[in-house]
Structures are given as structure tokens and as C-alpha cells.
Amino acid sequence: MAGGVGGMRMKLNAVRARNHPGYWAFVVHRVSGVLLALFLPFHFWALGQALQGAAKLDGFLRWTDQPLVKFAEIGLVVLLAAHLAGGTRLLMLEFMAWREWHKTLAAIAAGVAIAFGLAFALNVV
């Protein structure tokens, strides 16, 4: 039974360690970074359409007018803003020793990402 209680404590500690703004900031930074890195080649390929003339680029831009693509674009803007804000938070924690501020910085990072996402969404729709 002692092992069972110990195991439960370990699980509880793992949950506590993860249910923390710093952990979620880490997850968002990692996931946004990976998705943005994978998106980059497609983004550059799309802009490269201009090599075949403005009409070709316009054809691609009209494809992006679809609601689902617009929704994905808003998501990408939020990811970029989240990665920017989360990265700035990390640089501040590492180089400015603002460790007691970590929860505030995580909240600011989330706010910045949502603000940029909303500003883009209100202008693109």
C-alpha cells in the first residue's frame, strides 16, 4: 500500500508541476515554434508565386479568401504573436532575472498574442 500512496503522490506532484503558468507558457512556445517552422517553407513558396507574375500571385491570394483558410491565417498570426511574446518572456527571465515576475510575464504574453490575433481578425474578415 505504501508504494501505492507514493505513486499517487508522484502523480499528484507531476500534475501540480504541469498545472502552472510557466509550464503552459513552455508548451505554447514549443508548439507555436514547431508549427511556425513547418509553415515557413509553404509561406515562402506562396510568395514565390510572384516570380510567375502578379496574376499568379493574385490567383493564390483569391484561394486564401476561403473562410477556412482565413481562419487558419488568424491562427498563424496568433501563433506568431504567441511565439514572439513567449520568446520575449524567456529572454527577460534569462537575462533580466525577473523571476518573480514569471506569472505576470506569461499573462502579458497571452494578452499580446490575443491582441494581435484580434486586430488581424477584425481587419481580415
Partner: protein, 123 residues
Amino acid sequence: MSARVEQNSLQVNARVEVWLWAAQRITAAIMALFVVAHLITMIYAVHHGLTAAQILGRTRGSAGWATFYAVFVALVAVHAPIGLRNVLAEHLDWRGVSLNTVMILFGILIAILGWRAVWAVCA
């Protein structure tokens, strides 16, 4: 492998890791300014309706935008592979020469496609 060769190899690896760590932070700090400018430009651009004429009217023949985006591409071609390398090493336990080779190739791919895109919209 002799103990001395192994120790030298470990020292080189540690030095490379320090350089990659520094490059990741330096590119991040510089790119923060570029990303803010990019986000504001995107919001401004979509507000006026995204068309090829509008994009190319702003960028074609502009040395300023060409320089901005060419430097942006160079920074991200360094930053993204280092970040991806860390994620793959920590989550998939993929390390060593194969991972380094794939990440260098990924960085080269981003640089080539990125500069091609800059040429396409600015030249």
C-alpha cells in the same frame, strides 16, 4: 577512441552547444523587432484588401523592404533549425550527426526559399 580524443570531442560538442544557445538568443532578440514590424504590416495590408498589386506596389523596387526581408530570412534560417533541433532532441531523443545534418539542410532550405520569395516580391 582514446580518453584524450573523447575528451576533446566532448569539449568541441559543449562549445558548439554554447554557440547554438547564443545564436538562438541573439537571433530571437533581433527578430522580435522584425516580427512586430511584420505583424503590424500584415494587419495594415489585410485592412486594405490583400491583392498582388497592393503587395507588389509596396515591395517592388524597394531597397528598404528587400533588405528588411532578406535579413529577416537570414535570422529565421538560423533560429528555426536550432529551435527544432532542441525539440526533436528532447522529445524524440534524436541526437547526433543525422539530426545536425537534417537541421542544417532545413536551415538551407528556409534560406533559399526565403530569399527566392524576397526576390519574387522585391525585384
